[in-house]
Amino acid sequence: FPFPLTYIARLLRIHISERKREEEAESNQNSFAAMAPRKTPVVSRNPQLIRGVGKYSRSKMYHKRGLWAIKAKNGGVFPKHDPKPKAAATPVKPSKFYPADDIKMPLPNKRKAKPTKLRASITPGTVLILLAGRFKGKRVVFLKQLTSGLLLVTGPFKVNGVPLRRVNQAYVIGTSTKVDISGTNVDKFDDKYFAKAAEKKNKKGEGEFFEADKERRRASCHKTRRMTRRLSMQHCLNRLRQCQI
């Protein structure tokens, strides 16, 4: 028998995998010649000796990829799929306005800002010391880092009058004191929460002060904001009390 067993095994394996793909294709109700979506990630069968130089030649790879089997299955010719019907091209209207001179376009900027790397000494529940700003010198509990990179921090308010606040990492010293705030839900608070429009809201304990144009806005968000803050801060406070700070 001229062919080695491995060859037959390969033949069979390819045949079986082809069958599987067919079945998948059928189950997906595609046309039988279409490719089914891959379930395993694509791994190259051609290991690189050096970057750009594969171990196997083109003819060997042809063999390894089983292109001969695909051809054999398709009657000696590589299967061709009809091109997908193109969506009817929407008629392009001639532009109404052509600028007089060539405008210089700025180069595209594809940079994405990442939040600043959080120092190892700062973990949720760490007590921080604020170094600057209105509350400088106050010791404060760190809750989480927001997507802008700023740190979300709270006194808590009842303890030292520092409200839920954002603070930059550079203006903070991380102490080694940690408070266990697991279970405190701070998912509701992000940078949008601190956006300008909401700054006119009432804070806890302050008297009501209605203005005609802001009345509706305030009324709608007032209660929910207070409640969310109260609930989360209450939890935080309870935790603090447990630590006997």
Binding site: R119, L131, A132, K136, R139, N160, A170, I173, G174
Partner: protein, 112 residues
């Protein structure tokens, strides 16, 4: 906060003295000032202060922004010599009358 310690004045800066400008024997270069930071006596100790912000605060007769106090901000740039003196650059050069005056060395931008 512990009740008994509220209302204490917290000094969140280190005191520093303005020694003068960076200079050789006969020439001085006013764009860089030399600052002696209190308690810092060796080149190695200066490493912590590199990059920290400085403020030279002075008084003026005319009120600006509602205050008689004015400030020139700066940064510690590097050590100067072996004994803990520090070079600093300010947003505008320090006036010569500031020599011998107090400068505040803040603890930010912090890295602890």
């Amino acid at each position: 906060m512990v009740k008994g310690r509220e209302g204490e004045r917290v000094r969140l800066y280190v005191r520093g003295t303005i020694l003068g400008y960076k200079r050789s024997k006969a020439n001085q270069y006013p764009n860089t000032s030399l600052i002696q930071i209190e308690g810092v006596n060796t080149k190695e100790e200066v490493a912590w202060y590199a990059g920290k912000r400085l403020a030279y605060i002075y008084k003026a007769k005319v009120k600006k922004d509602g205050s008689h106090y004015r400030c020139i901000w700066g940064k510690v740039s590097r050590s100067h010599g072996n004994s803990g003196v520090v070079r600093a650059k300010f947003t505008s050069n320090l006036p010569p009358k500031s020599m011998g005056d107090r400068v505040r060395v803040f603890m930010y931008p912090s890295n602890i």
